[in-house]
Amino acid sequence: MTGHWCSGRPQPAGASITPVAGAVSAKRLRSSSSASPVELRGVTKRYPGQHEPAIGNLSLEVPAGEICVLVGPSGCGKTTALRLVNRMTELSGGDILIDGESIRARPAAELRRGIGYVIQHVGLFPHLTVGENIATVPKLLGWDRKRIAVRVEELLDLVSLGKEMRARYPAQLSGGQRQRVGVARALAADPPLMLMDEPFGAIDPINRERLQNQFLRLQSEIKKTILFVTHDIDEAIKMGDRVAVLQKGGKLAQYATPPELLMSPANEFVEDFVGADRALKRLSLLRVRDIELWKAPLVRVGEPTAAARTPGDADISHPLVVDDEGRPVGWLSERDLAGETVPATPRIAPDPILELDDVLRDALSDLLQSETQYAPVVDERGRVAGVLSIAIVSDFLASDDAAGLAIPPAERVGT
């Protein structure tokens, strides 16, 4: 599946995708193509009559196919920075290059037709049907009727909306559906760059989470370059390949990957902004397989208990019983040890059983919920791969090992 979405362009580093639940269908791949790198060079925006610039000398490079999240407190200029890119606001100084070409090289309207734009309140045209809304840019580009119809259908499918939605008006849709139509409209002419200004800001928390996940899955298929504005640091960490933390005056406080940001905030401002629970936040960027597990003292069902009595790891007081396939069946208790052989059903059930692919934060939460210090971890085939304990997690957080590790955003969804 490599190369489908890049049509002739070199694929960005680290873009190989492991298909997640609901794997990418061949049909969907048709609607994806290029992505452009974006570069902000010494970007400045001054408003007349204001002493301080809204944005002063901001430089930022976004590699093709990545999501760059601009995050910061209100008034930090993140939305302004975004609107400078499609010239909804005009630059006062510096330049912005899309695929190496200055945004000033073309008339603003023409430039915007090549950039997807999604805003918080979506801004669907109330007097046009869903289909007509999605067709906005293709119509401006003079596509013929048939091509537009095909494309609209493709996009409805891409954002998981049924065909029957096509003839509806925005007033007939739920907030989440409107938002998805907004994304479809922005993607209509297959722009290599998307600008998203708090796209999930007006959605309730439960649906927001769902939409974020859907969008990340979508992005894993379409691989657009995306500039994404939010004031929510959790959203930034979840959605971003890179996160740019902005301070008042559009000053770039830190530009880093989410784990870097959480591990080593550049200054006090970032540290405050990221929050006191940044250690916990880091756990949601990691999987169980990313950290070193304890080796479990294993005994097989039917083995003489004498073998099990030899002291194993001091951290784990009970041996772990596995069946012939190496799957965990329970912990061997003192009373089990009184028998001749290791029983097939030990008295202590092996709950919970964790998986290597579990997100570390969820795994920790399972441990805490089961009021246990440790639990067996199994691989894809259900065989014991080690033991995860609360102690490992806290040691790990205290160390610097986690800095370079992170799940790509597209895979952070839906566990």
């Binding site: 499609n86 909804m88 309207a109 023409e110 430039l111 915007r112 037709r113 090549g114 734009y117 805003i119 918080q120 309140h121 979506v122 801004g123 669907l124 045209f125 109330p126 007097h127 046009l128 906005t136 840019v137 401006l140 509806r168 008006y169 925005p170 007033a171 007939q172 849709l173 739920s174 559906q177 907004g182 409209r185 922005a186 600008l195």
Partner: protein, 240 residues
């Protein structure tokens, strides 16, 4: 006995009216007379329709142009509302007489006066309609690459349409009423059947002409409402 008597006398009136004389002589409301004389209203009614439609039509053309100019130059809204407001407050009869030396007696004079009354209403509704277009729809429109002109014709005006037509409805109803005075400018219309010489006190004639004017206003209103509904289907959908 009492129950039978009124019915009996009504039948008598009917017969009287057919022959014409006594009901009219007593200046009562005489349905028979109306039926017999309906033809005489055809021409004034058509004149009235003409005066109304032409005045509202020209008024719309002028107000629409002014609104488009003022839409991008907001500072013009105040002066235009002020100016059309002055026109609106001038007593219509006075305007007819002021115009007589310039444009003479006839349709032109009436149309100029009636048109000037529609400007304020239509202009204000167009401006309000454009102002009420959701900011995010405009933002998304421009952000999608619509030019200012495309935004105006494809997004702003369609969304303002219900309010624009609401303005036309008020203007046309008002104009039907004012056009009854067009007779003083020598432009005919239903007013000529209200004030035909000494007949200004002719009750049946006044009621008939007045009633036709009311019906005309109602008919125009229904037509415009139909147009509005046909052109804005999105306003009628059930919300989710």
């Amino acid at each position: 006995m009492f129950l039978v008597e009124p019915a009996h006398s009504f039948a008598a009136v009917e017969i009287h009216n057919r022959s014409g004389s006594s009901c009219i002589a007593q200046n009562k409301l005489c349905p028979g007379w109306i039926i017999d004389n309906f033809d005489r209203y055809t021409h004034p009614l058509l004149q009235h329709v003409y005066l109304t439609v032409v005045s509202v039509g020209i008024g719309f053309a002028i107000a629409f142009s002014l609104a488009l100019v003022a839409h991008r130059r907001r500072w013009l809204v105040g002066p235009i509302v002020g100016l059309t407001g002055v026109l609106y407050t001038l007593p219509s009869l006075a305007v007819f007489f002021l115009l007589l030396p310039i444009t003479g007696r006839g349709t032109t004079t009436a149309v100029i006066a009636l048109t000037s009354y529609t400007l304020q209403i239509i202009f204000r509704n167009i401006v309000a309609g454009l102002d009420n277009v959701p900011a995010e729809a405009k933002d998304a429109g421009l952000g999608s690459g619509l030019t200012d002109r495309q935004l105006l014709w494809r997004v702003e005006l369609p969304l303002a349409l219900p309010e624009i037509i609401a303005g036309l409805r008020i203007a046309s109803t008002t104009t039907v009423g004012l056009a009854t005075l067009a007779v003083f400018a020598g432009a005919g219309g239903l007013g000529s059947e209200i004030v035909t010489g000494s007949n200004i006190t002719f009750k049946t004639g006044v009621v008939t002409a007045g009633g036709l004017a009311v019906l005309l206003a109602l008919a125009l209103d229904i037509v415009l409402l139909g147009v509005q509904r046909a052109l804005s289907p999105w306003r009628r959908v059930q919300s989710a």
